[in-house]
């Protein structure tokens, strides 16, 4: 064990954890409002990566324009996925919606694999690095954290400060009561699915500025998102953000003291432990 790596790894972990948290917020928002476990979460994250690639490498524009575009495309894509695949089965048993989103997963992966192949891709973003002692923080990571925190803040402002956001929360709390108050629950469900997808695609876009990727890369982050939402509390966006930070920190710090290939084992051990000891997660309600 070399403790010289502890501080830089902890910082790297926390920075990356913010982006994990953003992706998980998308998953948990969709579940919190629609009660749908979105198995298309991973491919949607990968779509965000390819939006950045198209903007940066295809159009030659600043990759962060791609991040913004990924959010917009994500909102639209989420609404389309909801209307096409989820809306008709929204009141069916949970297994049905699970299978519906799994079908979307397969459609996106199949189409993307055919059109884009699984070749590794990378977006060349050089924002320099901040260095102090043995700590090196990449500029791309710092910007990703700033954007992730801003996106999370914007989501909260929308949900708590706007009439539309309050309507989404009302539908999440009690769909029947919200409809009695004149809220069009179908639209709110579609909007929530769109927002969740936008968050996931934004997270994917930010990951593309940091790491190489291919059309299958979303799978890794989808699995992490599930661990994070269980850790933070299903349906709780704040819990997802905190869960992301915890998992990021755990990844960074445990890798210092044990071989890196054991880190996923620790993560999933935490996942099982939370399900056994505190199934509502860190910030989940008792209900």
């Amino acid at each position: 064990m070399n403790l010289g790596a502890l501080l830089p790894s902890a910082i790297d972990g926390l920075l990356l954890g913010c982006v994990y948290g953003l992706a998980a917020m998308g998953l948990t928002l969709i579940f919190g409002v629609t009660r749908v476990v979105n198995l298309a979460h991973g491919p949607v994250i990968a779509m965000g990566m390819f939006v950045v690639l198209a903007v940066a490498s295809g159009a030659g524009l600043n990759p962060y324009i791609g991040v913004l575009l990924a959010a917009v495309v994500g909102l639209a894509a989420g609404v389309v996925i909801y209307v096409v695949a989820v809306d008709r089965v929204i009141n069916a048993p949970e297994l049905t919606t699970l299978l519906a989103t799994f079908a979307v997963n397969l459609i996106i992966i199949g189409t993307a694999t055919t059109l884009l192949t699984t070749s590794p891709r990378a977006v060349d973003v050089d924002l320099g690095a901040l260095r102090a002692g043995n700590v090196t923080v990449m500029g791309t990571h710092v910007v990703a954290v700033v954007i992730a925190v801003a996106a999370a803040g914007a989501l909260y402002a929308f949900l708590f400060r706007t009439r539309l956001g309050k309507s989404v929360r009302a539908v999440a709390a009690d769909r029947a009561a919200a409809e009695l108050m004149g809220i069009n629950s179908r639209r709110m469900l579609a909007l929530a699915f769109g927002l969740g997808t936008a968050l996931a695609m934004t997270a994917g876009a930010l990951l593309a500025t940091m790491f190489s990727f291919n059309v299958l890369s979303g799978g890794t982050y989808e699995t992490k998102s599930f661990v994070i939402v269980v850790l933070g509390g299903l349906g709780n966006p704040t819990g997802a953000l905190i869960g992301g930070l915890v998992i990021g920190l755990l990844e960074g710090v445990t890798a210092v003291v044990i071989p890196v290939s054991w880190v996923p084992v620790i993560e999933y051990a935490v996942f099982v432990l939370i399900l056994l000891v505190r199934p509502r997660g860190l910030l989940g309600s008792r209900q």
């Binding site: 790596a5 790894s9 699984t118 990378a122 291919n214 890798a255």
Partner: protein
């Protein structure tokens, strides 16, 4: 009615005679060669190169009129391939299909040691000869197989040569970190490198594996930086190797020597810009290394096939890019099979096996000779590795052959 029967009998007799006649007249026949390609998944890029090499070989043989045997028979290669998605279970199923359904005459391999391991078992069980390119795993070739022939230099030699090169460059190197992808090939290479490094008086300060598909190397690179080794050896395949090199550069790890598997010889490795500078990689082939009739004679081998320059020109014309060693591996696999069939004078498996066992060949890929020992039968014994390093060239980067000294295009430089 009786007239019709007589007519039918005469027609049948004519057909039988015609069929007998065709058996004695040698004409063009199809030589079915099966393999799987990783059109998707982790091995896609390098597999694509290998398949391009195989296709170029088949096209050139077909254009030249086919493989001509001593009895006048002409064999025209027909390639049969499927997408294995870089998955071993697909490889097993598809090689079974190639043998049982497609009735291929011979097999070539998929790309990567893990996939070859799966394919080799199927080929061996069915007694079907397979020439493997794209696989260097030692363990696969130490199972006493009788029908599997390995073209690549075995993996155990990948990093041992890099250690020799490193110590020749800088004898003051004392500490190394070995970090490798946790797959069969890379683990085998690392396992061979560690005792060799220790036998040379080096101290291994970090020895870790990472999962295939890893993209975030920050935790591992932080550990390496904290251990402060003089050199880093390891890697795995293209994507992880390239990402790892970028992470080492970004974190400013001050290792004087970095050697990674598979990725550096690939021309697109330089896409990471300055992060590629100084990175060394073992290569099965480089176009600047000359193999010809003279080198063949010096090695006591038979020269066979096109010259290196002719191959490079043909490849660039066909695919619009420079070939990597993966491309040449695919081409040479076809070439070796072609020569063995010519020597055997037939496609009979026993005769071709005997010809492969007796082969001592020099092609554009280098020397090829297979072990005839019972335990290591088919393992490559003669092919030599070269080592490349990315060095500054004008405003860009160029891959230079730096080892062995006899064939180098530039001296090795310490990493800055």
């Amino acid at each position: 009615m009786r007239g019709m029967r007589i007519t039918a009998a005469v027609a049948a007799a004519v057909l039988v005679l015609a069929a007998c006649g065709s058996g004695t007249t040698s004409g063009p026949k199809t030589l079915k060669i099966g393999f799987t390609a990783s059109q998707t998944g982790a091995q896609e890029l390098t597999s694509k190169r290998q398949v391009e090499g195989i296709k170029l070989w088949a096209d050139q043989v077909a254009k030249a009129g086919g493989i001509k045997l001593k009895d006048g028979t002409v064999l025209t290669p027909q390639l049969v391939s499927y997408d294995d998605e870089s998955k071993t279970d697909r490889v097993q199923a598809l090689y079974t299909k190639l043998i049982n359904d497609d009735k291929v005459d011979f097999l070539l391999s998929p790309y990567s040691s893990g996939l070859i391991k799966a394919a080799a078992v199927v080929g061996e069980q069915n007694g079907k000869i397979m020439v493997t390119a794209g696989g260097a795993d030692d363990a696969t070739m130490e199972q006493g197989f009788t029908s599997i022939y390995q073209l690549y230099t075995p993996g155990s030699k990948y990093l041992t040569g890099a250690i020799d090169l490193m110590l020749a460059m800088d004898p003051t190197v004392k500490t190394i970190a070995i970090v490798n992808e946790k797959d069969a090939f890379s683990t085998g290479v690392a396992a061979a490198a560690k005792p060799y490094a220790e036998s040379k008086g080096l101290t291994v300060v970090l020895n870790e594996g990472y999962d295939s598909g890893t993209t975030d190397f920050a935790p591992l690179v932080n550990k390496i930086a904290a251990a402060a080794p003089d050199a880093i050896l390891g890697g795995g395949h293209f994507q992880d190797g390239q990402t790892f090199a970028k992470a080492v550069f970004d974190k400013q790890v001050a290792a004087r020597f970095v050697a990674l598997l598979v990725a550096p010889p690939e021309p697109t490795f330089s896409a990471i810009g300055a992060a590629a500078l100084g990175i060394v990689g073992p290569s099965q082939w480089e176009q600047s290394v000359k193999y010809d009739a003279t080198t063949a004679a010096a090695a006591g081998a038979t020269w066979y096939g096109p010259a290196v320059a002719d191959f490079v020109t043909a490849y660039q014309t066909a695919y619009g890019a420079a070939p990597s060693y993966h491309s040449v591996g695919g081409y040479a696999a076809g070439l070796v099979l072609e020569k063995a069939i010519e020597d055997a004078g037939s496609i009979d498996a026993a005769a071709v096996r005997k010809a492969l066992d007796a082969l001592n060949l020099m092609t554009l890929f280098g020397q090829t000779q297979f072990s005839t020992d019972t335990k290591t039968h088919g393992k490559q014994t003669a092919h030599q590795m070269v080592y490349v390093q990315w060095q500054a060239a004008g405003d860009g980067l160029a891959s230079q052959v730096v080892w062995p000294v006899a064939v180098r295009t530039a001296p090795i430089l310490p990493r800055q």
